[in-house]
């Protein structure tokens, strides 16, 4: 019977467990969990901070998930992989494997900034521990500066809002969510949130001086609590040192295999096939991690499964503003604004490449499906698709089949 070892205890690992078990009931699975916590959902930390959910609900499949699945959970940090002996060494102990998954995820990026050591209360915002630490400080009170207006920074701000109203978010970029959205969308978000958040944009950090942040412009911001949300970096070391092919992330094929035999990788740590750009890409998304992990798991258990429909996508809700996007923002752009809402559709040769919806976004999944399937929009009008959509936009036979149950879209 195969021994499966999974390094990392998050979504990709969950996917892998489901994948392996779907192919091999009561398989022998060991999870090496460096974070020393049962499986929980990282994206929930901001909601927990915001008290939209509770700490125990963050264990979103229950604290006993591993037990329920019959998986051995070892709360230890993996330090080394020996591909010859086919063992993983974690905190001195050896864990032999037949098939190995590396889902080490990523860790927050903290650049070398002058005077950072002089800051008293500083946090990153990535793990449950980060959240708990930040929450402890927030409860004691104090003004918050968040450096980084990306998704993590913004969601963090939403959580912090629960504790005090004066939040400053600084970013060297000219607008919030620089990576996840387009300039147009970013501006709209900034506009709609400016009344709530004190944005400092185009603001490159120069140095810290105790409780003072000094920007290149000479502008100064004082704070009690600092949150650094400057993005994350894949933790590729374990594989890099044994010669895996690594770019920014570990390179895997559509079966989630690394170039090393019996070693798979999935989740935030990989650069995997992305269907819109049709190239390897570092996606670091929740569904990508889960489905990537599941694909890996199935292949580890001897099936032949390929993950070919992975695309960038994001859905979130910032201070009541719903932001949804998928695909790539390339090709011909069609924009509409309805009241405060903003919608944009990107097409290339009648095929939808991407979209952004701010505000109303009912049945957006239909657009996502067009992207995934590279289905031509044919005679459909992009503006109408943005105005609203339902099953009537699918080709009749596909729709009939879907409703008749013969075929899944």
């Amino acid at each position: 019977m195969n021994k499966y070892v999974l390094i990392g205890g998050s979504i990709a690992t969950e996917g892998a467990i489901e994948g392996i078990l779907s192919a091999e009931k009561n398989a022998d699975i060991t999870v090496l969990c460096g974070e020393k916590r049962p499986l929980y959902s990282r994206p929930l930390i901001s909601y927990a901070l915001e008290k939209k959910t509770t700490d125990e609900k963050m264990y979103f499949h229950g604290e006993d998930y591993y037990e329920k699945k019959g998986v051995k959970a070892v709360y230890a940090v993996a330090e080394k992989i020996d591909p010859e002996k086919k063992v993983v060494i974690a905190e001195g102990k050896e864990y032999p494997y037949d098939e190995l998954l590396v889902a080490t995820g990523s860790k927050p990026f903290v650049p070398p900034i002058k005077g950072l050591e002089s800051v008293g209360k500083k946090h990153t915002f990535y793990t449950m521990d980060d959240m708990l630490g930040l929450r402890a400080d927030l409860e004691k009170g104090g003004k918050v500066l968040i450096v980084g207006a990306g998704l993590i920074g913004m969601k963090c701000a939403e959580g912090v809002k629960e504790y005090r109203d004066d939040i400053v978010i600084a970013d060297m970029a000219p607008r919030p969510l620089p990576a996840a959205t387009t300039p147009e969308a970013g501006n709209i978000v900034q506009e709609r949130l400016s009344s709530i958040i004190d944005f400092r944009l185009n603001a490159a950090l120069d140095r810290f001086d105790g409780n003072k942040a000094v920007f290149g412009s000479g502008e100064e911001v004082t704070f009690d609590i600092l949150v650094l949300a400057l993005g994350v970096r894949p933790q590729v070391e374990l594989l890099k040192e044994i010669g895996a092919e690594v770019n920014r992330g570990i390179i895997v094929n559509e079966k989630m295999q690394t170039n090393l035999p019996h070693i798979y990788a999935a989740g935030d740590v990989v650069e995997s096939y992305e269907a819109v750009g049709e190239s390897k890409r570092l996606l670091q998304l929740f569904p990508s991690a889960y489905l990537g992990g599941k694909t890996a798991g199935r292949n580890m258990a001897g099936e032949d499964s390929r993950f070919l429909t992975d695309i960038p996508m994001n859905a979130t809700n910032l201070f009541g503003v719903r932001i949804m996007s998928a695909g790539l923002f390339v090709g011909e752009k069609t924009e509409v604004t309805v009241g405060e809402d903003y919608r944009a559709l990107y097409t290339e040769g009648g095929v939808i490449k991407g979209f952004i919806l701010i505000g109303e976004s009912a049945r957006a999944g239909i657009l996502t499906d067009f992207i995934r399937k590279k289905r031509s929009i044919g005679t459909l009008d992009a503006k109408e698709l943005l105005a609203g959509r339902d099953l009537s936009v699918y080709p009749a036979e596909e729709r009939r089949a879907a409703l008749g149950g013969k075929y899944e879209i």
């Binding site: 909601y47 569904p287 979130t316 719903r322 976004s361 009912a362 957006a364 499906d369 339902d390 729709r399």
Partner: protein, 143 residues
């Protein structure tokens, strides 16, 4: 598993299913009290391509994208394979809406996800849209 299927050639576009669905999930024992002067937000929606109408509700996919995208564990499959939603867990992020190819999941005005659960967690026993469809356009069967 037993699923809801739509025979669009028999759909009359009468929209009864939408009202019966709302009633079924209202938790109110009387249809008038359940619907009178209320905005309805049913789990089944009658849609039309201009020529033909059809009632759309959750397809309960074998590999539901909504579940793989759900960050809160609010969406899950029950033992029968039906996709169920635990609204107390949902944080309303909208990932399910973003991925559902049928547009069959929505965020309600309470800010959490909702969808067809085959009337399994209400008192109807069988999906009321099926039971009340006047023309057999919605069926509940094994395929």
């Amino acid at each position: 598993m037993k699923k809801i299927y739509v025979k669009e050639e028999w759909c009359l576009g009468c929209h009864l299913c939408e009202f019966e669905c709302t009633y079924a999930n209202s938790g109110i024992g009387n249809i008038v009290l359940a619907l009178k002067d209320k905005e309805i937000d049913p789990n089944v929606k009658v849609q039309s391509d201009g020529k033909i109408t059809f009632a759309v509700s959750c397809r309960h996919c074998d590999e539901p994208l909504c579940i793989s995208a759900c960050i809160s564990g609010a969406l899950s499959k029950d033992e029968t394979g039906a996709v169920m939603v635990d609204r107390s867990k949902c944080v309303g992020c909208g990932s399910c809406v973003m991925v559902c190819p049928y547009g069959a999941v929505r965020i309600t005005k309470e800010g959490t996800a909702n969808k067809c659960q085959l009337c399994m967690n209400n008192s109807c026993g069988e999906p009321l849209c099926v039971k009340k469809c006047p023309n057999g356009a919605i069926v509940y069967e094994e395929k």
